[in-house]
Amino acid sequence: MIQIEKIYKRFGKNEVLKGVDLSIPQGGIYAVLGPNGSGKTTLIKCLLGLMIPDEGTIKVLDKPIKEQWKYREEINYLPQIANFPGNIRVCELIRMINDLRKKEGNEDFLVKLFGLEPFLDKKLANLSGGTKQKVNLTLAFMFDSPVMVLDEPTSGLDPASLIALKKLIRDEKQAGKTFLITTHIMQFVEEIADQVIYLLEGNIYYTGPLSGLYKKTGQNDLEHAIAAITTETRHA
């Protein structure tokens, strides 16, 4: 589904990705983990073409994505910070994305699921962080695409919405979709992820099932496992 080969990316002197290799087959939920600044978001943005890697190739559905844009029709993206143009209304935003993607979306279902109906006529600048995130999720889940990339999907969500989100993800997974999720909420990962990709200082430290990570670190819950990796590298 997605092949990432020897991706390098630097910002000035700061080398963020140092030759990341990664292959993600179709189906399943992949959690991209790593400490702050390990390059998770950069990797995802490279995949989406928001950032352009210095070296290496990325293939989505076996086609290189360099200077391409059509492939993004196969990807739904949930950005980390829900930055929307402030002076348009929620319904207009949804309509616009619908219009731009030229696809039928199931926004009605999502609006109901997240309880967004009262906000549809509000301007985005006037929404709370949580509500914005719900709009963000609606936009991300609206379309039926084989790849879902979610950057911190849980931020700002209330428990009810969180439960709804988890259910949504599981349902979509059942439908054979591939998820790429970054998050710092380890409980969320434990509950939902099939595979873990652990990024550390611009390299992949570990890929595989969660159990493998526990084994590797000798811990039995994710938080401690990750903490162990972080301290281990600091000491090294």
Binding site: L48, L50, W69, P85
Partner: protein, 260 residues
């Protein structure tokens, strides 16, 4: 691209700055006409103002719009859209809405004062054409600055500096050069130096219309060829076209390489 244009245009039509700009021109038009009570004089005064003011407003507005639509751009970039179309759409949206404000803001008062029945329609059209060119050119330059500067304050600073340079400092240096080297034949130099600054270029277009009698007093052969024939107006418009396309091209090139 047309869709992006549609949305950025819609967005701008909603923004109060477009209205401020529009009202400003409306006011300017009415005040000039009221003070002069003479269409020709108002058009001439306006021409003097336009070549300086439009670049300033276009640069500031362009850079402001770009910085304010960061979110919009990021949203769009994740969609299956070509980067070129996104930026081209935004550019056309902002330049188009500014041009529309200029056109309506000035057109309305002048139309009410009987522009269509007067002999000044040609001068007025020239005014609008020059204004539109300058809007597009300086929006393009503003996009260049904005794309290459993440820091908004820096970006604004460069934008104002750019305007100041093009509108004032450049002509100062130009004048100084002409005076220092007055013993040498300077007509080719003058024409080249004029062409290299879009504000000067627009000014020449206006001079060709308003001051042709004075310009024909030049002795240099190149001046004669330039001002005495159609060559002047054709090459000035052509060069403005270049000035429009080059910043646009570089800003799209930059946008293609940029990380968001």
């Amino acid at each position: 691209m047309l869709k992006i244009l549609k949305y950025s245009f819609k967005d701008l039509m909603r923004s109060r700055w477009s209205y401020v700009y529009f009202l400003f021109y409306l006011l300017l038009g009415f005040v000039l006409l009221f003070l002069n009570n003479d269409l020709s004089k108002a058009v001439i005064t306006l021409m003097n103002i336009i070549v300086v003011l439009v670049p300033l407003i276009s640069t500031i507005f362009g850079i402001m719009y770009y910085y304010n639509s960061r979110e919009f751009i990021e949203l769009l970039l994740a969609q299956p859209l070509k980067r070129t179309s996104i930026f081209l759409g935004l550019y056309l949206g902002v330049a188009g809405s500014l041009t529309l404000s200029l056109f309506l803001g000035l057109g309305l008062p002048f139309a009410l004062y009987g522009l269509f029945k007067s002999g000044d329609i040609l001068n007025f059209s020239l005014l609008i054409i020059t204004g539109s060119f300058l809007t597009f050119i300086f929006n393009g330059l503003a996009f260049n600055i904005a794309i290459s500067n993440e820091n908004r304050i820096k970006g604004f600073g460069y934008a104002v500096l750019l305007w100041l340079f093009m509108a004032v400092i450049y002509d100062g240096l130009f004048l100084l050069t002409l005076i220092v080297f007055e013993e040498y034949p300077l007509d080719t130099f003058s024409l080249v130096a004029t062409v290299l600054n879009p504000i000067d270029l627009s000014r020449i277009l206006i001079l060709l219309e308003l001051d042709i009698s004075a310009l024909l007093g030049y002795t240099g052969a190149n001046f004669k060829a330039f001002f005495g024939t159609r060559l002047g107006i054709t090459s000035a418009l052509l060069m403005l076209m270049f000035w429009l396309l080059i910043p646009l091209w570089t800003s799209i090139k930059q946008a293609k390489r940029k990380d968001f």
